[in-house]
Amino acid sequence: MRPGETVGTLVVDPVPLAAMKTMAALLDDPTPIHYDAAAVRAAGLGQEPINQGTTNVGYLVELACRVGGGPHSLRSIDVRLNGSVFAGDRLRCTAEVLKIDAEAGLVELELTGKVGTRAVLGGRATVAMR
């Protein structure tokens, strides 16, 4: 593992509508753009339901945890939500090493999420090394 190296990839293909419905129920979120395609079209926001930002954050959290070896490895994470992810999209998330603190046993990661060439997620995370 060294700075600049891509150390993890998480591909969600296709982004599942069923999970959006689950998340809408868990969050008690009545916003129909997350489960009803007709509402998305009526609002002029696209053709398919829009993934909850929360779920997109969860994908990057999951990626960082996999790089660190499990959920207990994650020390911190900050995520920027730059664009919408729609049901059926192919979302590709990657983790690249930014910095290694061998003394503290920590690795800082640069996280990105893209749908095609469109950058929809960005962030940084710190995980404990395995």
Binding site: A19, T22, L26, T31, Y59, E62, I77, L81
Partner: protein, 147 residues
């Protein structure tokens, strides 16, 4: 246009929150993770932190001078984890608004970046996680919402 900088320092009432085991299972599944008995996916800090404000979303929106119809978006979100989060554990939430930054975009018009933080502590007083949320709050003058 009203200035909302005075919101910095506003404290939320706080609340004791927890999530049941089945909630953590469904949450893990929804974010593409493998559910683990007795353990919660770290991203579950998101709803725990929001509930830890002691307020409903609509009530937080009202504090920042907005409503559901105003197109408020989550712009950024972060967690600083000190202890693993677990189902069925009570966490005491406390926090408030820590920053308000006014911005202007060509398409978005004027908007505020409102950042609030929530600390979740276990019964022992040990902090489990610090959650931060930055909401993009449109203030008008644009074609659509920011973000």
């Amino acid at each position: 246009m009203e200035d909302f900088a005075h919101l910095v320092g506003h404290r939320f009432p706080g609340a004791v929150v927890s999530v049941p085991e089945h909630f953590t299972w469904l949450w893990s599944d929804a974010v593409g993770s493998r559910p683990r008995a007795g353990s919660a996916h770290p991203s579950i800090a998101y709803p725990l932190g929001l509930r830890g404000t002691g307020l409903r979303i609509d009530e937080i929106l009202a504090i920042v001078g907005a409503g559901r119809e105003d197109g408020v978006l989550l712009g950024e979100c972060g967690f600083e984890l000190h202890r693993p989060l677990r189902p069925e554990v009570a966490y005491e939430g406390s926090g408030g608004i820590v920053a308000v930054e006014r911005k202007r975009g060509a398409r978005a018009g004027t908007f505020d970046l409102v950042r609030f933080e929530v600390h979740l502590r276990e019964e022992s007083g040990e902090e489990a996680v610090r959650c931060s949320y930055t909401w993009v709050v449109p203030r008008g003058g644009g074609d659509d919402a920011a973000g």
